[in-house]
Protein backbone atom coordinates (compact mmCIF):
# COMPACT_ATOMS: atom_id res chain seq x y z
CA UNK A 1 0.00 0.00 0.00
CA UNK A 2 1.31 3.46 -0.85
CA UNK A 3 1.50 5.41 2.42
CA UNK A 4 3.10 8.53 0.92
CA UNK A 5 1.12 11.76 0.84
CA UNK A 6 -1.51 13.01 3.26
CA UNK A 7 -4.01 10.35 4.42
CA UNK A 8 -7.24 11.05 2.66
CA UNK A 9 -10.05 12.16 4.91
CA UNK A 10 -8.02 12.24 8.13
CA UNK A 11 -9.13 14.97 10.44
CA UNK A 12 -11.86 16.04 8.09
CA UNK A 13 -15.58 15.65 8.58
CA UNK A 14 -18.36 15.28 6.09
CA UNK A 15 -21.82 16.63 6.33
CA UNK A 16 -24.72 14.51 5.13
CA UNK A 17 -28.21 15.77 4.45
CA UNK A 18 -31.14 14.16 6.24
CA UNK A 19 -32.31 12.46 3.05
CA UNK A 20 -28.80 11.05 2.49
CA UNK A 21 -28.82 9.68 6.04
CA UNK A 22 -32.27 8.17 5.44
CA UNK A 23 -31.08 6.39 2.32
CA UNK A 24 -27.84 5.10 3.80
CA UNK A 25 -29.11 4.29 7.29
CA UNK A 26 -32.91 4.11 7.37
CA UNK A 27 -32.77 2.93 10.99
CA UNK A 28 -30.63 5.72 12.46
CA UNK A 29 -31.17 7.85 15.55
CA UNK A 30 -29.44 11.20 15.93
CA UNK A 31 -29.20 12.31 19.54
CA UNK A 32 -28.44 15.91 20.41
CA UNK A 33 -26.15 17.16 23.19
CA UNK A 34 -29.13 17.37 25.55
CA UNK A 35 -29.86 13.63 25.10
CA UNK A 36 -33.02 14.26 23.07
CA UNK A 37 -33.69 12.66 19.70
CA UNK A 38 -33.04 15.13 16.87
CA UNK A 39 -33.78 12.88 13.91
CA UNK A 40 -34.89 9.31 13.23
CA UNK A 41 -34.59 7.28 10.02
CA UNK A 42 -37.86 6.45 8.21
CA UNK A 43 -37.77 2.69 8.88
CA UNK A 44 -37.09 3.25 12.56
CA UNK A 45 -39.92 5.81 12.69
CA UNK A 46 -42.18 3.20 11.15
CA UNK A 47 -41.26 0.73 13.86
CA UNK A 48 -41.20 3.05 16.87
CA UNK A 49 -44.13 5.23 15.89
CA UNK A 50 -44.16 8.93 15.01
CA UNK A 51 -43.18 11.71 17.36
CA UNK A 52 -39.71 10.41 18.17
CA UNK A 53 -38.08 13.79 17.76
CA UNK A 54 -37.65 15.68 21.01
CA UNK A 55 -38.00 12.59 23.16
CA UNK A 56 -35.25 11.60 25.60
CA UNK A 57 -33.25 8.69 24.18
CA UNK A 58 -33.94 6.43 27.19
CA UNK A 59 -37.66 6.67 26.46
CA UNK A 60 -37.17 5.56 22.85
CA UNK A 61 -34.79 2.65 23.36
CA UNK A 62 -33.97 0.28 26.21
CA UNK A 63 -30.53 -1.28 26.49
CA UNK A 64 -30.56 -5.03 27.06
CA UNK A 65 -26.90 -5.35 27.77
CA UNK A 66 -25.87 -3.63 29.97
CA UNK A 67 -29.43 -3.40 31.26
CA UNK A 68 -29.28 0.26 32.20
CA UNK A 69 -31.08 3.39 31.10
CA UNK A 70 -29.81 4.53 27.69
CA UNK A 71 -28.61 7.98 28.72
CA UNK A 72 -26.43 9.95 26.34
CA UNK A 73 -23.61 9.69 28.84
CA UNK A 74 -23.72 5.90 28.95
CA UNK A 75 -24.14 5.63 25.17
CA UNK A 76 -20.99 7.70 24.61
CA UNK A 77 -19.07 5.33 26.83
CA UNK A 78 -20.37 2.35 24.82
CA UNK A 79 -18.91 3.69 21.55
CA UNK A 80 -17.60 0.93 19.34
CA UNK A 81 -19.28 -1.85 21.34
CA UNK A 82 -21.91 -3.99 19.60
CA UNK A 83 -25.15 -3.07 21.37
CA UNK A 84 -28.13 -5.23 22.19
CA UNK A 85 -31.24 -3.19 22.69
CA UNK A 86 -34.89 -2.82 21.83
CA UNK A 87 -37.36 -0.07 21.09
CA UNK A 88 -39.54 0.69 24.09
CA UNK A 89 -42.42 0.49 21.58
CA UNK A 90 -41.46 -3.14 20.78
CA UNK A 91 -39.89 -4.57 23.93
CA UNK A 92 -40.02 -8.19 22.71
CA UNK A 93 -37.97 -7.53 19.58
CA UNK A 94 -34.21 -7.51 20.14
CA UNK A 95 -32.22 -5.22 17.83
CA UNK A 96 -28.53 -4.71 17.18
CA UNK A 97 -26.88 -1.33 17.22
CA UNK A 98 -23.71 0.71 17.09
CA UNK A 99 -23.20 4.21 18.50
CA UNK A 100 -20.59 6.86 17.68
CA UNK A 101 -19.99 10.26 19.24
CA UNK A 102 -20.67 13.37 17.20
CA UNK A 103 -17.91 15.98 16.93
CA UNK A 104 -17.27 18.51 19.70
CA UNK A 105 -19.67 16.98 22.20
CA UNK A 106 -22.67 17.66 20.00
CA UNK A 107 -24.35 14.36 20.78
CA UNK A 108 -24.32 10.81 19.46
CA UNK A 109 -25.33 8.95 16.34
CA UNK A 110 -26.86 5.50 16.65
CA UNK A 111 -27.51 3.06 13.81
CA UNK A 112 -29.76 0.05 14.36
CA UNK A 113 -30.46 -3.23 12.62
CA UNK A 114 -33.16 -5.83 13.23
CA UNK A 115 -30.57 -8.63 13.31
CA UNK A 116 -32.37 -11.95 13.69
CA UNK A 117 -35.66 -10.14 14.42
CA UNK A 118 -35.77 -9.30 10.70
CA UNK A 119 -38.61 -11.64 9.69
CA UNK A 120 -40.62 -10.66 12.74
CA UNK A 121 -40.01 -6.93 12.06
CA UNK A 122 -41.01 -7.25 8.40
CA UNK A 123 -44.21 -9.03 9.33
CA UNK A 124 -45.16 -6.79 12.21
CA UNK A 125 -44.41 -3.46 10.54
CA UNK A 126 -45.11 -4.52 6.96
CA UNK A 127 -41.68 -3.36 5.80
CA UNK A 128 -41.01 -3.17 2.06
CA UNK A 129 -37.96 -3.42 -0.19
CA UNK A 130 -37.60 0.37 0.07
CA UNK A 131 -37.37 0.25 3.86
CA UNK A 132 -33.88 -1.23 3.66
CA UNK A 133 -30.69 0.36 2.40
CA UNK A 134 -29.72 -1.01 -1.00
CA UNK A 135 -26.44 -2.19 0.55
CA UNK A 136 -28.19 -3.98 3.40
CA UNK A 137 -28.22 -7.78 3.10
CA UNK A 138 -31.59 -7.86 4.87
CA UNK A 139 -33.52 -8.47 1.65
CA UNK A 140 -31.14 -11.25 0.62
CA UNK A 141 -31.65 -12.78 4.06
CA UNK A 142 -35.44 -12.61 3.67
CA UNK A 143 -35.10 -14.14 0.22
CA UNK A 144 -33.01 -16.92 1.67
CA UNK A 145 -35.53 -17.57 4.46
CA UNK A 146 -38.31 -18.00 1.90
CA UNK A 147 -36.18 -20.06 -0.47
CA UNK A 148 -35.05 -22.29 2.40
CA UNK A 149 -38.63 -22.72 3.52
CA UNK A 150 -39.68 -23.77 -0.01
CA UNK A 151 -36.78 -26.19 -0.31
CA UNK A 152 -37.41 -27.62 3.16
CA UNK A 153 -41.06 -28.18 2.30
CA UNK A 154 -40.03 -30.06 -0.82
CA UNK A 155 -37.48 -32.13 1.12
CA UNK A 156 -40.08 -32.97 3.76
CA UNK A 157 -42.45 -34.15 1.04
CA UNK A 158 -39.70 -36.31 -0.38
CA UNK A 159 -38.86 -37.72 3.05
CA UNK A 160 -42.54 -38.50 3.70
CA UNK A 161 -42.93 -40.27 0.38
CA UNK A 162 -39.78 -42.31 0.96
CA UNK A 163 -40.89 -43.08 4.49
CA UNK A 164 -44.27 -44.27 3.24
CA UNK A 165 -42.57 -46.41 0.61
CA UNK A 166 -40.24 -47.89 3.23
CA UNK A 167 -43.12 -48.63 5.62
CA UNK A 168 -45.12 -50.43 2.93
CA UNK A 169 -42.01 -52.34 1.77
CA UNK A 170 -41.38 -53.39 5.36
CA UNK A 171 -44.99 -54.46 5.79
CA UNK A 172 -44.79 -56.50 2.58
CA UNK A 173 -41.52 -58.10 3.70
CA UNK A 174 -43.17 -59.21 6.96
CA UNK A 175 -46.38 -60.53 5.37
CA UNK A 176 -47.17 -63.94 3.88
CA UNK A 177 -48.39 -63.08 0.38
CA UNK A 178 -50.73 -66.07 0.17
CA UNK A 179 -52.69 -65.69 3.41
CA UNK A 180 -51.98 -62.04 4.29
CA UNK A 181 -51.01 -62.94 7.87
CA UNK A 182 -47.44 -62.44 9.13
CA UNK A 183 -44.71 -64.61 7.65
CA UNK A 184 -41.90 -66.13 9.74
CA UNK A 185 -40.00 -62.85 9.66
CA UNK A 186 -43.09 -60.90 10.71
CA UNK A 187 -43.79 -63.41 13.47
CA UNK A 188 -40.25 -63.10 14.83
CA UNK A 189 -40.60 -59.31 14.94
CA UNK A 190 -43.98 -59.72 16.65
CA UNK A 191 -42.50 -62.04 19.30
CA UNK A 192 -39.55 -59.71 19.91
CA UNK A 193 -41.94 -56.77 20.39
CA UNK A 194 -44.14 -58.86 22.65
CA UNK A 195 -41.18 -59.98 24.80
CA UNK A 196 -39.93 -56.37 25.02
CA UNK A 197 -43.36 -55.15 26.19
CA UNK A 198 -42.87 -56.94 29.54
CA UNK A 199 -46.45 -58.27 29.48
CA UNK A 200 -47.08 -62.02 29.82
CA UNK A 201 -48.15 -63.75 26.62
CA UNK A 202 -48.95 -67.13 25.10
CA UNK A 203 -47.76 -68.72 21.86
CA UNK A 204 -50.19 -71.13 20.18
CA UNK A 205 -48.92 -73.33 17.40
CA UNK A 206 -51.64 -74.64 15.07
CA UNK A 207 -50.97 -77.46 12.64
CA UNK A 208 -53.69 -78.28 10.11
CA UNK A 209 -54.49 -82.01 10.06
CA UNK A 210 -55.28 -83.76 6.75
CA UNK A 211 -54.13 -80.75 4.77
CA UNK A 212 -51.52 -82.67 2.79
CA UNK A 213 -54.12 -85.19 1.63
CA UNK A 214 -56.34 -82.42 0.25
CA UNK A 215 -53.38 -80.79 -1.45
CA UNK A 216 -52.54 -84.12 -3.07
CA UNK A 217 -56.07 -85.03 -4.22
CA UNK A 218 -57.52 -81.61 -5.11
CA UNK A 219 -54.37 -79.84 -6.28
CA UNK A 220 -52.27 -76.86 -5.12
CA UNK A 221 -54.86 -74.25 -6.08
CA UNK A 222 -57.38 -75.90 -3.75
CA UNK A 223 -54.67 -76.22 -1.07
CA UNK A 224 -53.88 -72.48 -1.39
CA UNK A 225 -57.55 -71.55 -1.14
CA UNK A 226 -57.88 -73.74 1.92
CA UNK A 227 -54.89 -72.06 3.59
CA UNK A 228 -56.43 -68.64 2.92
CA UNK A 229 -59.70 -69.78 4.45
CA UNK A 230 -57.93 -71.28 7.50
CA UNK A 231 -55.91 -68.06 8.00
CA UNK A 232 -59.13 -66.03 7.88
CA UNK A 233 -60.71 -68.32 10.50
CA UNK A 234 -57.70 -67.98 12.83
CA UNK A 235 -57.61 -64.22 12.35
CA UNK A 236 -61.33 -64.04 13.08
CA UNK A 237 -60.95 -65.84 16.41
CA UNK A 238 -58.28 -63.46 17.76
CA UNK A 239 -58.47 -60.04 19.31
CA UNK A 240 -56.93 -57.04 17.55
CA UNK A 241 -53.99 -57.04 19.94
CA UNK A 242 -53.14 -60.68 19.17
CA UNK A 243 -51.02 -61.73 16.22
CA UNK A 244 -51.29 -64.46 13.58
CA UNK A 245 -48.44 -65.79 11.47
CA UNK A 246 -47.82 -68.62 9.03
CA UNK A 247 -44.43 -70.26 9.49
CA UNK A 248 -44.60 -73.26 7.21
CA UNK A 249 -46.84 -75.04 4.68
CA UNK A 250 -49.77 -75.70 7.03
CA UNK A 251 -48.35 -74.39 10.31
CA UNK A 252 -49.69 -71.24 11.91
CA UNK A 253 -48.68 -69.47 15.12
CA UNK A 254 -50.94 -67.23 17.20
CA UNK A 255 -49.55 -64.82 19.80
CA UNK A 256 -51.93 -63.87 22.61
CA UNK A 257 -51.00 -60.65 24.37
CA UNK A 258 -51.47 -60.54 28.15
CA UNK A 259 -53.32 -63.87 28.19
CA UNK A 260 -51.72 -66.83 30.01
CA UNK A 261 -54.69 -68.51 31.73
CA UNK A 262 -54.34 -72.20 30.65
CA UNK A 263 -58.10 -72.84 30.91
CA UNK A 264 -58.98 -69.85 28.73
CA UNK A 265 -56.30 -70.78 26.19
CA UNK A 266 -57.52 -74.35 26.15
CA UNK A 267 -61.04 -73.13 25.43
CA UNK A 268 -59.81 -70.87 22.64
CA UNK A 269 -57.87 -73.80 21.15
CA UNK A 270 -60.92 -76.04 21.26
CA UNK A 271 -63.05 -73.37 19.60
CA UNK A 272 -60.47 -72.97 16.82
CA UNK A 273 -60.45 -76.70 16.18
CA UNK A 274 -64.27 -76.84 16.09
CA UNK A 275 -64.36 -73.92 13.71
CA UNK A 276 -61.69 -75.46 11.42
CA UNK A 277 -63.46 -78.83 11.45
CA UNK A 278 -66.57 -77.37 9.85
CA UNK A 279 -66.70 -78.30 6.16
CA UNK A 280 -64.98 -75.73 3.96
CA UNK A 281 -66.08 -75.13 0.35
CA UNK A 282 -63.09 -74.86 -1.93
CA UNK A 283 -63.58 -74.55 -5.71
CA UNK A 284 -66.97 -76.20 -5.49
CA UNK A 285 -65.71 -79.12 -3.40
CA UNK A 286 -66.26 -79.75 0.27
CA UNK A 287 -63.11 -80.28 2.28
CA UNK A 288 -62.76 -81.37 5.84
CA UNK A 289 -59.70 -80.65 7.93
CA UNK A 290 -58.90 -80.48 11.59
CA UNK A 291 -56.05 -79.05 13.64
CA UNK A 292 -53.66 -80.01 16.40
CA UNK A 293 -52.59 -77.32 18.81
CA UNK A 294 -49.71 -76.77 21.22
CA UNK A 295 -49.52 -73.80 23.57
CA UNK A 296 -46.57 -72.38 25.54
CA UNK A 297 -46.70 -69.54 28.07
CA UNK A 298 -44.44 -66.68 28.99
CA UNK A 299 -45.68 -65.76 32.44
CA UNK A 300 -42.82 -63.52 33.47
CA UNK A 301 -41.66 -61.55 35.29
CA UNK A 302 -38.77 -61.96 32.83
CA UNK A 303 -40.06 -62.87 29.34
CA UNK A 304 -39.22 -66.31 28.02
CA UNK A 305 -36.92 -66.32 25.03
CA UNK A 306 -39.20 -66.44 21.95
CA UNK A 307 -37.15 -69.19 20.31
CA UNK A 308 -37.46 -71.40 23.39
CA UNK A 309 -41.16 -70.61 23.65
CA UNK A 310 -41.75 -71.67 20.03
CA UNK A 311 -39.84 -74.83 20.75
CA UNK A 312 -42.03 -75.59 23.80
CA UNK A 313 -45.19 -74.93 21.79
CA UNK A 314 -43.89 -77.24 19.10
CA UNK A 315 -43.31 -80.02 21.67
CA UNK A 316 -46.84 -79.54 23.05
CA UNK A 317 -48.18 -79.68 19.47
CA UNK A 318 -46.35 -82.97 18.98
CA UNK A 319 -48.07 -84.26 22.16
CA UNK A 320 -51.47 -83.37 20.65
CA UNK A 321 -50.65 -85.20 17.44
CA UNK A 322 -49.36 -88.25 19.28
CA UNK A 323 -52.50 -88.34 21.43
CA UNK A 324 -54.66 -88.60 18.29
CA UNK A 325 -54.81 -85.10 16.68
CA UNK A 326 -57.67 -82.61 16.87
CA UNK A 327 -56.78 -81.59 20.42
CA UNK A 328 -55.03 -78.91 22.50
CA UNK A 329 -51.98 -79.40 24.73
CA UNK A 330 -50.66 -76.71 27.04
CA UNK A 331 -46.95 -77.03 27.78
CA UNK A 332 -46.11 -77.24 31.48
CA UNK A 333 -44.58 -73.88 32.47
CA UNK A 334 -40.86 -74.36 31.99
Amino acid sequence: MNMAGPPVGQGRVIGLSGSALDRLMPMHLWIGASGLVVRAGPTLARMAGDGLCGQPLERVIALRHPARAATLDLMLRLQGTPLKLNLTAAPDMPLKGMVVALPAGSGAFLNLSPGLSLVEAVNRFDLTLQDFAATDLAVELLWLVEAKSAVTTELKRLANRLNGARASAEARAATDTLTNVANRRGLEAMLTRQAASGRPFAVMQVDLDHFKAINDTHGHAAGDALLQEAAAILRGQCRRRDGVGRIGGDEFVLVFDDLVDPRVLHRIGQRLIERLEQPIEVNGQTCRISASIGVALSTGPAPTDPVRLLHEADRALYESKRAGRGRVTIAAPG
Binding site: V122, T128, L129, A147, A150, V151, L158
Partner: protein, 196 residues
Protein backbone atom coordinates in the same frame (compact mmCIF):
# COMPACT_ATOMS: atom_id res chain seq x y z
CA UNK B 1 -31.51 -32.08 -15.51
CA UNK B 2 -32.43 -30.92 -12.04
CA UNK B 3 -35.58 -32.43 -10.57
CA UNK B 4 -37.01 -28.95 -9.92
CA UNK B 5 -37.24 -28.32 -13.67
CA UNK B 6 -38.57 -31.82 -14.41
CA UNK B 7 -41.08 -31.56 -11.59
CA UNK B 8 -42.21 -28.11 -12.76
CA UNK B 9 -42.79 -29.52 -16.25
CA UNK B 10 -44.73 -32.45 -14.82
CA UNK B 11 -46.91 -30.25 -12.56
CA UNK B 12 -47.58 -27.87 -15.43
CA UNK B 13 -48.63 -30.66 -17.82
CA UNK B 14 -50.84 -32.17 -15.13
CA UNK B 15 -52.44 -28.88 -14.01
CA UNK B 16 -52.84 -27.29 -17.44
CA UNK B 17 -53.74 -30.37 -19.48
CA UNK B 18 -55.12 -32.86 -16.96
CA UNK B 19 -54.00 -36.04 -15.25
CA UNK B 20 -54.88 -38.20 -18.24
CA UNK B 21 -52.66 -36.10 -20.50
CA UNK B 22 -49.79 -36.40 -18.04
CA UNK B 23 -50.29 -40.16 -17.75
CA UNK B 24 -50.26 -40.52 -21.55
CA UNK B 25 -47.17 -38.31 -21.92
CA UNK B 26 -45.33 -40.11 -19.10
CA UNK B 27 -46.21 -43.45 -20.71
CA UNK B 28 -44.97 -42.35 -24.12
CA UNK B 29 -41.75 -40.97 -22.59
CA UNK B 30 -41.22 -44.12 -20.55
CA UNK B 31 -41.30 -42.15 -17.29
CA UNK B 32 -42.97 -43.44 -14.09
CA UNK B 33 -46.41 -41.84 -13.93
CA UNK B 34 -45.61 -40.72 -10.37
CA UNK B 35 -43.01 -38.62 -12.11
CA UNK B 36 -40.06 -36.68 -10.79
CA UNK B 37 -38.81 -35.78 -7.34
CA UNK B 38 -38.01 -32.07 -7.14
CA UNK B 39 -34.87 -32.58 -5.08
CA UNK B 40 -33.22 -35.29 -7.17
CA UNK B 41 -31.36 -35.02 -10.47
CA UNK B 42 -32.27 -36.98 -13.62
CA UNK B 43 -30.57 -37.73 -16.95
CA UNK B 44 -31.19 -34.94 -19.49
CA UNK B 45 -32.59 -37.47 -21.97
CA UNK B 46 -35.64 -37.97 -19.72
CA UNK B 47 -36.57 -34.28 -19.90
CA UNK B 48 -36.18 -34.33 -23.67
CA UNK B 49 -38.32 -37.46 -23.91
CA UNK B 50 -41.10 -35.87 -21.84
CA UNK B 51 -40.98 -32.73 -23.99
CA UNK B 52 -41.12 -34.70 -27.23
CA UNK B 53 -44.00 -36.80 -25.92
CA UNK B 54 -45.84 -33.69 -24.71
CA UNK B 55 -45.32 -31.95 -28.04
CA UNK B 56 -46.73 -34.98 -29.90
CA UNK B 57 -49.62 -35.55 -27.49
CA UNK B 58 -50.70 -31.89 -27.36
CA UNK B 59 -49.92 -31.15 -31.04
CA UNK B 60 -48.00 -28.10 -29.84
CA UNK B 61 -44.41 -27.03 -30.61
CA UNK B 62 -41.96 -27.56 -27.76
CA UNK B 63 -41.12 -23.85 -27.48
CA UNK B 64 -44.78 -23.00 -26.94
CA UNK B 65 -45.16 -25.64 -24.22
CA UNK B 66 -42.05 -24.29 -22.50
CA UNK B 67 -43.24 -20.70 -22.70
CA UNK B 68 -46.57 -21.72 -21.16
CA UNK B 69 -44.61 -23.51 -18.45
CA UNK B 70 -42.76 -20.25 -17.68
CA UNK B 71 -46.06 -18.37 -17.41
CA UNK B 72 -47.47 -21.10 -15.18
CA UNK B 73 -44.45 -20.89 -12.86
CA UNK B 74 -45.29 -17.27 -12.04
CA UNK B 75 -49.05 -17.10 -12.33
CA UNK B 76 -50.34 -20.41 -10.95
CA UNK B 77 -51.46 -20.13 -7.31
CA UNK B 78 -49.60 -23.35 -6.44
CA UNK B 79 -46.35 -21.65 -7.52
CA UNK B 80 -46.79 -18.60 -5.30
CA UNK B 81 -43.52 -19.32 -3.47
CA UNK B 82 -41.59 -18.99 -6.73
CA UNK B 83 -43.39 -15.79 -7.75
CA UNK B 84 -42.44 -14.28 -4.40
CA UNK B 85 -38.81 -15.30 -4.79
CA UNK B 86 -38.74 -13.57 -8.18
CA UNK B 87 -40.47 -10.44 -6.86
CA UNK B 88 -37.66 -10.07 -4.34
CA UNK B 89 -35.58 -9.09 -7.38
CA UNK B 90 -36.84 -5.55 -7.43
CA UNK B 91 -39.46 -3.02 -6.42
CA UNK B 92 -40.31 -2.38 -10.09
CA UNK B 93 -40.00 -4.24 -13.40
CA UNK B 94 -36.73 -2.48 -14.38
CA UNK B 95 -35.07 -3.46 -11.10
CA UNK B 96 -36.40 -6.96 -11.64
CA UNK B 97 -34.86 -7.12 -15.13
CA UNK B 98 -31.48 -6.03 -13.80
CA UNK B 99 -31.74 -8.55 -10.96
CA UNK B 100 -31.77 -11.38 -13.54
CA UNK B 101 -27.97 -11.04 -13.83
CA UNK B 102 -27.85 -12.53 -10.34
CA UNK B 103 -30.54 -15.16 -10.87
CA UNK B 104 -28.13 -18.13 -11.16
CA UNK B 105 -26.26 -17.00 -8.02
CA UNK B 106 -29.49 -16.52 -6.10
CA UNK B 107 -30.73 -19.93 -7.20
CA UNK B 108 -27.47 -21.53 -6.07
CA UNK B 109 -27.83 -19.95 -2.61
CA UNK B 110 -30.96 -22.00 -2.06
CA UNK B 111 -30.32 -25.06 -4.22
CA UNK B 112 -26.54 -25.47 -4.70
CA UNK B 113 -26.84 -28.04 -7.50
CA UNK B 114 -29.34 -26.06 -9.58
CA UNK B 115 -27.37 -24.76 -12.57
CA UNK B 116 -29.03 -21.93 -14.40
CA UNK B 117 -27.32 -20.35 -17.44
CA UNK B 118 -25.52 -17.01 -17.24
CA UNK B 119 -27.83 -14.12 -17.97
CA UNK B 120 -26.74 -10.62 -19.00
CA UNK B 121 -29.02 -7.67 -19.65
CA UNK B 122 -27.90 -5.00 -22.13
CA UNK B 123 -29.65 -1.75 -22.98
CA UNK B 124 -30.15 -1.29 -26.72
CA UNK B 125 -31.85 2.03 -26.73
CA UNK B 126 -34.80 3.79 -25.25
CA UNK B 127 -37.03 1.24 -23.53
CA UNK B 128 -35.42 -1.63 -25.38
CA UNK B 129 -33.25 -4.30 -23.79
CA UNK B 130 -31.73 -7.66 -24.66
CA UNK B 131 -31.35 -10.50 -22.21
CA UNK B 132 -28.53 -12.79 -23.35
CA UNK B 133 -28.55 -16.43 -22.23
CA UNK B 134 -25.14 -18.03 -22.69
CA UNK B 135 -24.64 -21.77 -23.07
CA UNK B 136 -28.18 -22.42 -21.99
CA UNK B 137 -30.12 -25.61 -22.44
CA UNK B 138 -32.26 -24.91 -25.51
CA UNK B 139 -35.41 -25.19 -23.43
CA UNK B 140 -34.36 -22.51 -21.00
CA UNK B 141 -35.02 -19.36 -23.04
CA UNK B 142 -38.64 -20.17 -23.92
CA UNK B 143 -39.31 -20.85 -20.21
CA UNK B 144 -37.65 -17.54 -19.33
CA UNK B 145 -39.75 -15.78 -21.97
CA UNK B 146 -42.90 -17.11 -20.31
CA UNK B 147 -41.59 -16.06 -16.90
CA UNK B 148 -40.83 -12.52 -18.16
CA UNK B 149 -44.27 -12.21 -19.73
CA UNK B 150 -45.96 -13.26 -16.51
CA UNK B 151 -43.69 -11.08 -14.36
CA UNK B 152 -44.50 -8.07 -16.56
CA UNK B 153 -48.17 -8.75 -15.81
CA UNK B 154 -47.31 -9.13 -12.16
CA UNK B 155 -45.70 -5.66 -12.11
CA UNK B 156 -48.47 -4.22 -14.30
CA UNK B 157 -46.11 -3.48 -17.21
CA UNK B 158 -46.79 -3.93 -20.94
CA UNK B 159 -43.89 -5.50 -22.83
CA UNK B 160 -43.13 -7.11 -26.17
CA UNK B 161 -40.81 -10.13 -26.13
CA UNK B 162 -39.01 -11.89 -28.99
CA UNK B 163 -36.54 -14.74 -28.90
CA UNK B 164 -33.59 -14.66 -31.29
CA UNK B 165 -31.12 -17.41 -32.10
CA UNK B 166 -33.11 -20.13 -30.41
CA UNK B 167 -31.23 -22.94 -32.17
CA UNK B 168 -27.73 -21.54 -31.61
CA UNK B 169 -25.43 -21.04 -28.63
CA UNK B 170 -26.28 -17.33 -28.36
CA UNK B 171 -29.92 -17.20 -27.53
CA UNK B 172 -31.36 -13.86 -26.48
CA UNK B 173 -34.69 -12.35 -25.55
CA UNK B 174 -35.49 -8.87 -26.83
CA UNK B 175 -37.59 -6.90 -24.41
CA UNK B 176 -39.40 -3.75 -25.47
CA UNK B 177 -41.14 -1.82 -22.72
CA UNK B 178 -44.32 -0.34 -24.12
CA UNK B 179 -46.00 0.96 -20.99
CA UNK B 180 -44.52 0.93 -17.49
CA UNK B 181 -47.91 1.77 -15.95
CA UNK B 182 -50.15 -0.37 -18.07
CA UNK B 183 -52.08 -1.96 -15.19
CA UNK B 184 -52.09 -2.00 -11.41
CA UNK B 185 -50.12 -5.24 -11.12
CA UNK B 186 -50.36 -7.77 -8.33
CA UNK B 187 -49.64 -7.02 -4.71
CA UNK B 188 -46.36 -8.01 -3.20
CA UNK B 189 -45.31 -7.46 0.37
CA UNK B 190 -42.18 -8.76 2.02
CA UNK B 191 -44.27 -10.10 4.86
CA UNK B 192 -46.43 -13.15 4.65
CA UNK B 193 -43.83 -15.61 3.48
CA UNK B 194 -45.42 -18.92 2.58
CA UNK B 195 -45.78 -20.98 5.72
CA UNK B 196 -43.48 -24.01 5.69
Amino acid sequence: MHGLINRALQDFLRDAHGREAWAAIAGAADVDVRGFEAMLTYPDALTEAVLDAASAHLHTPRAMILEDLGTYLVSDPSMEALRRLLRFGGANFMEFLYSLDHLPDRARLAVPDLDLPDLTLTEDGRQSYTLHCRDAWAGFCPILQGILRAMADDYGVLVMLDITGLEGPRTAIRIRLLDMRFARGRDFSLKGAAAP
